[in-house]
C-alpha cells in the first residue's frame, strides 16, 4: 500500500487553496511511479468497499423486509429503496457533498472529509455515494426473493413442523435466495462501475475515472486509453459473471 501514500511536497498551492478542515490536502494530488496501477487499484478499493457495503446493508434489510409483517415499515422501506434506486449516483454524490458542507457552514461540524484519497475516513463518502444505488437494488431483489420463498409450500411445511425461525432462515430461505442475491450483486456492480467516473470526480478520489479525465487534460493519451480499456475489460468481466450467474440460476431451478 506504500505506493498509495501521498507525497506532501507536491501539493499545488496558489489558486487551489484547500480547506484543510474539510479534507486532507496532502492526499489530493498524488504522484505515482505507476499511475495506471495506482488508479485501477484505488478504483478497485472504492468499488469493493461500496459493493461490500451495499451487500451488508441490502441483504439483511431485504431479508428483514421479506420476513416482516409490519405494513407501515415495509411501505417505508420500499419507498426509501425506490427513491435510492431511481436517483443517479451523480445526485447522491452532490447531495452528500452538500450535506457535509451545510453541516460545516451552519454548525461548524466536520463529519467526514469530502475530497481526497485515503484508506481511512476518506473512503466513507465516495463509497456511500457509489453504494446507495447498488444497496437499493440488492435490497429489492433480496426482498422479492425472500418474500417468494417465504410463501413457498416447503417453507410452510417447515414452519408447521416447528422449525425455529433461525434454522428456517439458514436452511431454507438463504440458500434458495442466494442465486438471486448473487445476480443482484453482479448487476449492481456493473451499474456502480458506470457511475464510478463521476463519483471519483466529485470526491477527488484518485481512481481510474478521475485519472482518465486528468490524463486527457494533461494530454497523456496512452494512459487515458489504457484506463478506458481497463473499464471496458472490467465491465466485460462483470457481464461474463452476470451471464454465468444467470446460467447457474437457470440450471438450479
Amino acid at each position: 500500500m506504500v505506493s498509495f501514500l501521498a507525497d506532501p511536497a507536491h501539493i499545488e498551492t496558489g489558486e487551489l487553496r484547500a480547506n484543510s478542515l474539510l479534507m486532507n490536502t496532502s492526499q489530493l494530488f498524488r504522484r505515482e511511479a505507476n499511475p495506471f496501477g495506482a488508479a485501477v487499484g484505488s478504483s478497485a478499493i472504492l468499488m469493493l468497499t461500496s459493493i461490500a457495503g451495499a451487500i451488508a446493508v441490502g441483504v439483511p434489510a431485504g431479508i428483514a423486509y421479506g420476513w416482516s409483517t409490519s405494513r407501515a415499515l415495509r411501505a417505508l422501506a420500499w419507498s426509501v429503496s425506490t427513491l435510492a434506486s431511481s436517483l443517479p449516483a451523480f445526485f447522491w454524490a452532490v447531495a452528500i457533498e452538500l450535506v457535509m458542507i451545510w453541516l460545516w457552514v451552519q454548525f461548524r461540524i466536520q463529519v467526514l472529509p469530502t475530497a481526497g484519497f485515503g484508506i481511512d475516513e476518506h473512503l466513507v463518502l465516495p463509497s456511500l455515494a457509489l453504494g446507495i444505488r447498488p444497496a437499493a437494488y440488492i435490497f429489492r431483489l433480496t426482498a422479492t426473493a425472500v418474500e417468494e420463498i417465504r410463501h413457498a409450500d416447503y417453507v410452510r411445511t417447515a414452519i408447521a413442523k416447528g422449525l425455529s425461525e433461525r434454522a428456517l432462515l439458514a436452511r431454507h430461505v438463504l440458500p434458495n435466495a442466494s442465486p438471486n442475491i448473487i445476480a443482484a450483486t453482479v448487476f449492481a456492480a456493473r451499474g456502480a462501475l458506470s457511475s464510478l467516473v463521476i463519483v471519483e470526480f466529485v470526491f477527488i478520489w484518485g481512481g481510474a475515472g478521475l485519472t482518465f479525465v486528468q490524463a486527457l487534460g494533461n494530454r497523456r493519451l496512452e494512459l487515458a486509453s489504457a484506463l478506458a480499456l481497463a473499464f471496458a475489460v472490467g465491465s466485460a468481466l462483470l457481464a461474463l459473471a452476470a451471464d454465468l450467474v444467470r446460467t447457474r440460476v437457470r440450471v438450479g431451478t
Binding site: H10, P88, A95, V105, V197, A228, S235
Partner: protein, 655 residues
Amino acid sequence: MSTRHELRRLITNPALVMGLIGTLALLAIGVFGGLVAPYDPNANLSLIVKHLPDGTLSFRVPPTFPDTDHWFGTDALGRDQWSRVLTGAWLSLSVVVVSAVARLGIGLSLGVTSGWYGGLFARVVSIGAAGVAAVPQLLLAIMLVLATRPLGAAGFIASLALVGWPEISEYIRAEVLRAKAQPFMEAARSIGVPGRRLITGHLVATVGPQLLTVAALETGAVLLLLAELGLVGLFLAGATFLVGDFGPVGPLKGRVPEWGQMLGGLQFYAITAELPTLIPALFVVLASATFALLADGLRAASDPFSSRRVLPGTFGVLTKVLAGALCFSAVGFIGVNVRPGAMTMEDGRVLAARTAETIWPGSEFVAGVARYPSGTRVVDRPERLTYYYRNDHEEVLRISFQNADRLAVEVRKYESEDEIDFNGLKALPAGLMSYDTPLRLAEQNGGFAYRQFQPNYLVRVILTWPGDRDAPVYAVIYSPMSGSRVDPLRVCCFDARTGEIVDSLVAPRLAPPWPVPADCAAARSVYRQVDRFQGYFVMGPSLSVGTQSNLNYQGDTFIWMLGGQGTPRLESATNVEDASARADIVSPSPTGNAPGQALSFATLRLPVPGCWTVKVSVGSAVLDYTLYAYPSDCRPQHERFAAVPGVTPLPCVRR
C-alpha cells in the same frame, strides 16, 4: 367512460401529474426564463455589495452563498446563479431534446430492424451494442466529444446520441420479437399486408406507448450526461456574433449560458465554496428527476394491466402535448451558434478588445497567454486564457477567460500573473494563429519529456511581439509549480503568423563563428535505439541531447544528465580537435534517480566549445555520444544556419 373518470385516473397517477407539471414548467423556463431573470446572466461582479438595514455595506467576494438578493448565490465570477439557470435552460434543454431524439432514432431503427429481420444483421447489431455498452457512458462520451470536436455543435450532439443507444435497441428488439409473435400480426400477414406496412402500421402502434416512456427516460439520462460532461469541462459554450460588412456588431443571440457550462470548472471552486457552485448540479438533477417521474407515470398510464391506465384517446392527447412541447424546445436550438471547443486566441482577442475599449479606451493588446497547469480538471482546454492590454501610462489591464470559455470573463487592472516584461513590447495585430499549434510543436520539442519528469508543472503559451523582432512570436514555457528545484524549460520561438520555428529569443541574433555539423542532431537516434536508454537524456539549461528538444537548443558549455531508471553515469568527455581540453565532471551520476523522486542531474562542464565525445555508461553498456557544444552566449539553432562562408566545417563525426 366519462371525461371525469379519465381525469380521476390521471390524478391518481401522481408520478404522471408531477412529471407533466415539471416538464411543462421546464418548458416555460426554457421559453420565458430569459425574460424573467432578475439579473443579466453575464454581468459579473468582483465584489458583491449589499446594503444592510443599519445603513452599512457588506462586501463579499464571490462565489457567495444564497441570500435575499441572489436566491441561489453567485458563481465564482459574481454572476447571479438563478438568472443563469433561467437563461441557460433554453439552450441546455434544446441540446438535450435533440440528442435524446437522435439517440432514440438510432436505438429504434436498429432495434426494429434487428428484431424484425434477425439473422446476421441482428447479430452484428448485438455485438456492436455490447461493445458500446461495455465502456461507461461518460468515458465513451468524453472520447467522442473530443474526437468530434471539429464538427462543432453537431459533433457534440452526435456524441450524446451515440452512447446509450444499446439499451434502447435491446429493449425495442425484445418488444418487436414479442409483438411479432402476436396473433394479430399473424392475421395481418395472412391477409397479405406487406412487410413495410406491418412495421409502420401494426408494429409501431404496439411499441409506440413504450416509446414515449423510453423517450422521457432518455431525455433525463442525456441531461445527466450533459451535466457530467460539463463537470469534467466539456460543454457547449455559446455566443453568436453577427458579422456584417462593417465587422462584428456585437452579440446577437449570444452569451447564452448553458447548464453543463455552469458546472464546468465547478470542482476548481468547489473546494473553497461548494454550496453556491453545486447549485447548478441540483437543478440538473431536479430536471432529470422530473423526466424520470414522467417516464414512470407514462409507463403506468400506458400499461393495459395497470389500474392507472388511461384510454388510448387520452394517451394520444398526452403524447401529442408532450411531443409538441419537445419539438418546440428543439426549435429553440435553431439559430444558436454554439461550439464545444475552447476559444481560440483570436476569438478571445475580439471579445477582450471590446472590454478593453470600454475600460481603457485606446489601450493596445500586448500579450496573450494560455495556461495549462498539471492539476487541471478540465479536459483539453486551457485553464485560463489571458489578454494583456497596455495603456499610454504603461499600465496593464488583464482580461482573462476561465477555461477559455467566452462567458467567464474576469477583468483585473494593474495585475500581471505571467512574469512578462511589458516594456518594449509592440502592439499585437489581429488574425494571429491560436495557441494550440505552438503548444503542439513545443510538446514535440522537449515539452512532453519535461512534463513526464515534472508531474507538477505549469505550461504557458505566451504570445508577444518583442521590439527587436520583425514578427509576433509564441514562446512556450514549462515551469514547475512548486517545491521543485527544476529549471523552467523555455521553448522559443514560433512565428505567430505561420507557426514556423524562428530563432531563439534568448540568444543575441548573431551569426555563429562556425558552422553547425548536421551530425549532432542525428545523434539522438543512436541514443534511442540502445536498450533501456530511453529514460536518460543529457540536457542543459539550453542544451539537451538525446531528446527531440535538441532540435531547438544547442549551446552552452554545461551538460546535465537527467535521472531516470537505472544507473546512468558520465564516464569521460574528449574534445575532437583538441585532445588536451579536459572536461570537468562535476557529478558523474544523477544523485537520486528513484522513480517519483525530485529530479537531479549529472553535471559535466566543458571548457571550450566544439565537438565533444561523451561516454555515458549504463550498467555494462557504454555509449559514445558526440555532441556539439556552443558557448553559452550563443545558442543558435543548427537547422536554421547555413554554413558560414570562409569557415571550414569541423570534422565532427559520430563514432
